[in-house]
């Protein structure tokens, strides 16, 4: 059976010698909702970067949908990334484009038709609750709203997997909850989700699969887990 994501003996050593990940073996199935937890510097961001090939592993193999992405030619990388929706911690929105344009942009990049774009973008913005801010620019939005735009952009092309790095990092608890609700909804529609987070309450409440990293090692992999495994 093909796993959505499979890592085999993956290690990452950054130039300069910092060992960010050590011998990671993990399988994530289609439709799973996975939390990635661990103290700062544990390697969570690195784990995610390896998946959408911002970084290459130093050792080991990574398969996505059965395809070995460590062997991709530079020309094939864009097509891998189109299967993934990434929500960055710093949002990475285009400041001079409006909310609508930022989301539409992701569709233009993959050469979707204008008709599709006109149909799909408002729908996605409604889903994340931003219909009324369609023409605002990122700097006119709150952190939570920018996070929603980033999420809308990640979702607009119907990716197989959504990856989010600390999506609630600087949001208040209520807004964080709303974002998590959204994730849950997306997941119910069959999208695989991987969320790196420090938000203990959310992880404890959601009871999803938890991967815990420490010093670059995978120390815990638990179905319906909590933030700390000890208690």
């Amino acid at each position: 059976m093909l796993h959505m994501i499979e890592m085999i003996g993956v290690s990452k050593v950054y130039p300069g010698g910092c060992i960010a990940l050590k011998d990671i073996n993990v399988k994530i199935e289609k439709g799973e909702f996975v939390f990635l937890v661990g103290p700062t510097g544990a390697g969570k961001s690195t784990f995610l970067k390896l998946i959408f090939r911002e970084e290459l592993p130093t050792r080991g193999q990574i398969f996505i949908g059965g395809k070995n992405i460590t062997r991709l030619k530079p020309k094939e990388v864009p097509y891998l990334r189109r299967k993934l929706g990434v929500v960055f911690q710093d949002f990475r929105l285009l400041p001079q484009k409006t909310v609508y344009e930022n989301v539409a942009f992701a569709m233009e990049v993959v050469e979707a038709s204008p008709r599709e774009i006109k149909k799909r973008v408002p729908k996605i913005l409604e889903m994340v609750g931003l219909s009324h801010k369609m023409n605002a620019r990122p700097h006119e939005l709150s952190g939570g709203e920018q996070q929603r735009v980033a999420l809308a952009r990640a979702l607009v092309n119907n990716p197989d997997v959504v990856i989010a790095d600390e999506p609630t990092g600087n949001l208040d608890p209520d807004t964080s909850w709303e974002i998590m609700e959204l994730f849950n909804e997306i997941n119910k529609n069959g999208t695989t989700l991987i969320v790196a987070t420090h938000a203990k309450e959310l992880v404890d409440a959601m009871r999803k699969r938890v991967l815990q990293l420490e010093n670059g090692r995978l120390v815990r992999d638990e179905e319906r887990g909590v933030y700390r495994g000890e208690t």
Binding site: F52, P78, R81, R82, V109, E111
Partner: protein, 290 residues
């Protein structure tokens, strides 16, 4: 590639061009000044070339024949001259024709009643002006030829000068072409650098390299095209002025006609556009490696 994608590329290029207002103006200015300098040297160089060719083509050999030659010897001499390698054209000038010409130069009355003292001669043009000396040498050997004249010394000196003018003109042109590329790629690098975040984001949401590259290439080409257009207009106006000035004040020098300069303008426009594309492609390269 889909049509709407091409439209998107042009839209992006134009939007960015205007959004970067001052930066775009700076780039256009850089292209224009580089090409004006480059074009000025081009004009100087092609004119030196033109003048040199003009002077060279006027160099001819005159072979004076011995007084005693009869028609038979005359025919033999003509045949022998024509069979020398590098001879392009041979014209026979009889005693009588020579006298007529001479009369025209000095006036009829002066020569009234004097027996014709001028010899028969041949005027010879050669294939390449550099061969003049060698050909003259060979003609001198032909029996029946008394004397050969071709502006010895002067011709050699002229060739030396035109040779160096060409060489120096060419070197200066190459140097300024390199400087132009450098200025353009640097200015476009600034524009690309200002948008490195945007490029980065595009790549992370799955844009191909060419999708990212095209709007920048088009933008670069538009900058190069506009810059070279400005340069051409200024150069044409300037050259027109220079042409008229020289024609009026130094009539013996004839510059390259302005119409022929238009061909070079088209070349400059192509070069400018190409430099723009080259410069932006060059600058964007390292930002695509993500």
């Amino acid at each position: 590639m889909k049509l709407r994608t091409i439209r998107y590329f042009f839209k992006e290029a134009f939007v960015n061009l205007f959004r970067n207002g001052w930066m775009s103006l700076a780039s256009i200015g850089a292209v224009a000044s580089a090409l004006i300098i480059f074009g000025s040297f081009l004009i100087i160089s092609i004119n030196f070339d033109y003048i040199a060719k003009n002077v060279e083509s006027q160099v001819e050999i005159t072979a004076y024949l011995e007084d005693s030659v009869n028609q038979l010897v005359l025919n033999q001499v003509e045949y022998k001259i024509k069979s020398i390698d590098g001879v392009k054209e041979v014209v026979f000038v009889s005693k009588e024709q020579a006298l007529e010409e001479f009369k025209k130069q000095v006036g009829e009355e002066l020569l009234e009643g004097i027996e014709n003292p001028l010899p028969h001669s041949f005027r010879i043009k050669v294939e390449t002006p550099q061969e003049v000396a060698a050909v003259a040498e060979k003609i001198q050997q032909i029996p029946g030829v008394e004397e050969v004249k071709y502006g010895k010394g002067v011709v050699e000196k002229l060739f030396k000068i035109t040779h160096w003018v060409r060489l120096v003109g060419f070197a200066i042109m190459v140097i300024f072409a390199i400087i132009s590329i450098f200025i353009i790629s640097n200015t476009i690098r600034i524009t690309v650098f200002a948008r490195r975040r945007e490029i980065n984001i595009m790549k992370y949401i799955g844009a191909t390299d060419w999708f990212v590259r095209w709007p920048f290439l088009i933008e670069g080409m538009l900058l190069g095209f506009t810059g070279s257009l400005i340069a051409i207009v200024l150069l044409t106006v300037g050259y027109n002025y220079l042409y008229e000035m020289v024609k009026l004040n130094i009539p013996i020098i004839s510059l390259l006609p302005i119409e022929e300069f238009y061909d070079y303008s088209l070349g400059l426009l192509t070069i400018g556009t190409f430099l723009g594309a080259f410069g932006s492609g060059f600058s964007i390269k390292k930002f695509l490696r993500v």
